[in-house]
Amino acid sequence: MSGRRPVIGPGSILRLPSARIAVGVLAVIAILAAFGSTLAPQNPLAINANALFQGPSAHHLLGTDYLGRDVLSRLMAGTRLSVLTALEAVGIGLVLGAIPGIATVFMGRSFDFTANRVSDALMTFPSIFFVVAVTAALGNGLVQAMIPVGILLAPAFFRVTRAATLEHARAQYVEAAELLGASKLHVIRVHVLRKVLPNIMVTTAAMTAAALLTVSFLTFLGIGVQPPTPTWGGILSSDLDYLSQAPWAPFIPGALIAVTVGALNALADAVRDRSGAGTLVASPILPTDLSLELADGDRQSRSIA
């Protein structure tokens, strides 16, 4: 992989068919997140005791749940909360991870050591244990729960930006700029940030998928939301209680989550392919003398759940 990386635009990414499909899917999700509750064909909270566990029909395109509520409307109305909370977590992770990731290269060895150990320590916490522990301390709300999710996403951003920054900060043109008297801030802004951006984009897409899975899992466990409010994970959870009446029901929200996550992964892959960025160096959590560089495409968003 050469040191020179073109700064990529949306046009070159969209040339890939997989990216077009992914962007299409994500656009639909974005529309649902923005207008889902207004577009919903029926009231997502309306209970109908005469239409429990119905299969798909013209009136209820995706059937009804255990209270006779329209599943399609509930999914559409639940999109906003699921998507926005995932984005909140990614935003927190991006700020807490990427900024120290770049800074650590320019701030000396003791800062680098400390930042790395904090990142390592955070990686020893399985997400759900950490998030639930934080909600135990701070109170049970989905927005509060997203802060620890974001904190746990930060090490991924940190490792990626640090590795990419290290690569560029040692380039000859950076040395030349420094010799010409450029300040550290100028070097970071002009030479480093633009080159690291594709890596951050890939990680952002992958981490959004991971955050979405975590959000679904939290709402599945009933953390942060009160029952009538529809969320993707919450719908799955109530479906689980009525498996014997409607064994097919969990597949609908499950598929919606999977398609969204798949689209985000495909987008991350496309940006990676087009920019040559995103080799996430997954060194072991604990120190070893061996440094292994994992293949591309394998440090994809995984379910944090």
């Binding site: 020893t124 301390a137 466990l221 799955l236 999977a258 061996l290 292994l292 994992l294 759940a305």
Partner: protein, 347 residues
């Protein structure tokens, strides 16, 4: 796909140059320096993660003494007395140090509500998660290892493409969705496995395995797909190396070449993936517990979070992060053993 590089820090020398002969004293010094370097990193991680764990309790705005005393008895004087008894009037660092020293002696404090020792309720639940996690790791290695190896050998064939396709689907499915699918397929439609509950190994190996098999499978699939992808990529590269061709030319049996020469060198990245995924696997265990109604650590965590039982939450987080560190130490040791050098010094 990028090239997988495997470099050995410290002993990296010019390509082809024979390593210098080391004297015995130097060898011991190098080994000690490595252990020291490792500890210099490991010790801060252990302290930091336990400190973060303890601070979560301090962040809480709950008033433990008032909670324990109950509303009627919580006079300011009584609260102050109990705070002193619990050590809550001391500075955060002192509290943390006392807590850590006690924890190292196996004492994690008592629940605010039930007064049951935290270590006791954790050790009651631990076998459930230990069984699921160990079986899940075994399943992930067996399924992922087999799929990755066969895909690499039959590169470009239908099995290879099938593995790639299945892996990309599985990586979009969280453990709790996989768990639900498994329940629907194997427990509700076909009554092949019990849908919920846990039976200890004392009730017989058969019932025990049948109760933990589906949850473990749900946990293992995502890790298995990661291992398969990683192993396939690195094995394909190793199989193209000259020494593999050399071994074939020498007429060694293919099975021996694959196991002794190729897999040994290709296993590293897959093992690192396993270590990386392990925390998420434990998080998935919470999902599996919820789906299969198992009385494990995750259920204990959710119950104690609801009542804000801080000592239980802290104890659980400490035990879990220690578990992650231990598993990663084991993986690192295995890596060092796999890539040991001929002079007997492990890297």
């Amino acid at each position: 796909m990028t090239v997988i590089t495997l470099t050995r820090g410290g002993t990296a020398d010019a390509a082809g140059a024979p390593p210098p002969r080391r004297r015995r004293g130097l060898r011991v010094r190098v080994a000690l320096a490595r252990i020291g370097g490792g500890l210099a990193v490991l010790v801060p991680i252990v302290f930091l993660s336990s400190f973060i764990t303890y601070c979560l309790g301090a962040l809480s705005n709950s008033n433990p003494a008032a909670t324990i005393l109950g509303q009627d008895a919580a006079t300011p004087a009584a609260v102050a007395r109990l705070d002193q008894a619990l050590g809550l009037d001391q500075s955060l660092i002192v509290q943390y140090w006392n807590w850590l020293v006690q924890a190292l002696h196996g004492n994690l404090g008592r629940s605010y509500f039930t007064q049951i020792p935290v270590s006791q309720s954790i050790s009651q639940r631990l076998p459930v998660d230990l069984s699921i996690a160990i079986l899940a790791v075994i399943l992930a290695i067996v399924i992922g290892g087999t799929a990755g190896t066969v895909a690499a050998i039959r590169r470009g064939g239908w099995f290879d493409r099938g593995v790639t396709a299945v892996c990309s689907v599985v990586s979009t499915l969280p453990a709790f969705v996989v768990g639900i699918i498994l329940v629907v397929l194997f427990a509700v439609s076909v009554h092949a496995f019990p849908a919920n509950g846990y039976v200890g190994p004392s009730a017989g190996t058969g019932p025990w395995l049948s109760h933990i098999f589906l949850p473990s499978l749900a946990l293992s699939l995502q890790v298995a797909s990661d291992i398969a992808r990683q192993l396939r990529t690195s094995l394909v590269q190793v199989l193209d190396q000259n020494y593999i061709t050399g071994a074939k030319v020498r007429g060694l049996p293919y099975r021996r070449i694959l196991v002794r020469h190729a897999l040994r060198n290709a296993a590293g990245p897959a093992l690192v993936t396993l270590g990386y995924d392990f925390p998420q696997m434990l998080a998935g265990a919470v999902a599996a517990e919820a789906v299969f109604s198992l009385p494990g650590l995750g259920q204990l965590l959710l119950e104690s979070a609801e009542t804000r039982d801080i000592p239980v939450v802290q104890g659980l987080l400490l035990v879990i992060s220690t578990f992650v560190i231990v598993v990663n130490l084991v993986i690192n040791t295995t890596l060092n053993w796999l890539y040991r050098t001929d002079d007997g010094m492990s890297a």
